[in-house]
């Protein structure tokens, strides 16, 4: 649909929905098959990661501009992809997870003020 009407013809809530879908695809559905950690994740890890991603997917988000929305999502993607490459038992796994959740949460709280 966005191919037909273009980004500028898509309502903001729909555009955010689209970015969320892209986020899910990039960080959860896709894997780097040649990476030792990302190449094979245990069921526990998958469940855990999914619950966090699901949390982000269901968080209501608003943005001032589309460019701003895309930029934020790209930043979160970067963090989430780094997270996918950290073994679950390492302490960085937890800190990166917190960093991701925090980044989204921070945007949500400041975004609402605007």
């Amino acid at each position: 649909m966005m191919k037909v009407v273009g980004e500028e013809g898509t309502a903001m809530p729909d555009f955010v929905q689209y970015l969320k879908a892209e986020f899910l695809d990039e960080v959860y559905l896709q894997q780097d098959a040649f990476h030792d950690v990302d190449g094979a994740s245990s069921a526990d890890r998958q469940k855990h990661v999914f619950s966090v991603i699901h949390g982000i997917m269901t968080t209501p988000l608003t943005f001032k501009t589309r460019d701003n929305a895309r930029q934020e999502f790209l930043r979160w993607q970067q963090i989430a992809k780094d997270w996918n490459r950290i073994p679950m038992e390492k302490p960085e796994f937890k800190t990166t997870e917190e960093k991701l959740v925090h980044a989204v949460e921070q945007h949500r709280s400041t975004g609402e003020e605007n």
Binding site: K3, E7, R75, Q78, D82
Partner: protein, 440 residues
Amino acid sequence: MHTLYHGIENIVGNVLMLRATDVGYGDLAEVTFGEDSSLAQVIQLDGDQVYLQIFSGSRGVPTDATVRFLGHGLQVPFSEDLLGRIFDGSGRPRDGRPELDATPVGVAGPSVNPDQRIIPRKMVRTGIPMIDVFNTLVQSQKLPIFSVAGEPYNPLLARIALQAEVDVIVLGGMGLKYDDYLFFRETLEEAGSLSRTVMYVHTAADPTVECLFVPDLCLAVAEKFALENKEVLVLLTDMTNYADAMKEIAITMEKIPSNRGYPGDLYSQLAARYEKAVDFESAGSITILAATTMPGDDVTHPVPDNTGYITEGQFYLRNGRIEPFGSLSRLKQFVNDKTRADHRKIMDRMIQLYAGFRSTEEKRSMGFRMTEYDRKLVKFGDLFEKRLMDLRVTLHLEDALDACWQILADCFEADECGMPSELIKEFWPTERSEVRSKNP
């Protein structure tokens, strides 16, 4: 002890038929008529009927010619002195220098026993970023270059012959235009690379049968060099001409034509040549790069189609570039984890972003407004094409990887380029190139 046979029963095209005994399949024979003589090869046996393919063509051959069987198949003299020499499709010197006096070795033997082979593990550096970074060529790999007629596949092969970090280059030309032959010779001569090169060249003006021997001669010589611990790169151009020569011969032989007139054993014939590629446990290796032109850009044409089932990937040459999407080196993953830590990731990410650029182009052509991110993608695509995809670009692998990072840094912020943060920490350039060129 050789029996002389007189009297040829029939001549069809370049195939002579006579009755003889004690003759082996693939044996050579010398056909003498008047002052002339030519070699011929047994290509079919049916009871005592022997079919000979005559190398110089059957024109002027009378039915009372004398035929003497040599008792062995096609051979090629081999020694170190081959380097720097140029021969034609039947192994005669083309460079005006004397015949080589060395031990002959058999041609078109079986391919190497799998037991002697090792799993490929070394890359072949070519200095061409689209190969080294994105589809790394691996020692012992067999890869075709699928190309539309008119694409610069011969200049590409010539550059690979100059730049590839191997010990010996064996170049086989099949149905080459005379200009192309001169181009190869002059390019290699000027760069001083002829001294590590052997060329077997069949031009379009030479008899068709000689075309059929070019890959076999090249690969026989390559195998001997590989057994002497040399890393050998065999460049063949153009395999479609080779297949066409097979077709021509098969039709004069009245074989039942298969798909589009090609012989039914096209696949086996091609495979027998490509399978010569090898990496020896305790010696050198043979890597094969073969240009295959696709008539009308048609991948379903029998030659590229069959080739695709044999080789380990393919390069597509289109619009003067090695196309990043269709091209694939199936062995690259064996080597690109040992080059530099960022190699695999940058290879993936650059192509993903380039795909993004292509869809942005599509969007732009439909007249949609460009977002800020779209403009970054467009800049990225242009820089990628200019700095890396252009076939004139020569960069060492490490320099090419650095160039990839520079393109990313010129177009994106570090946290939106999609590269892992730890690699960004290590490799992200400190300056954009615009800044760099201002402060030299």
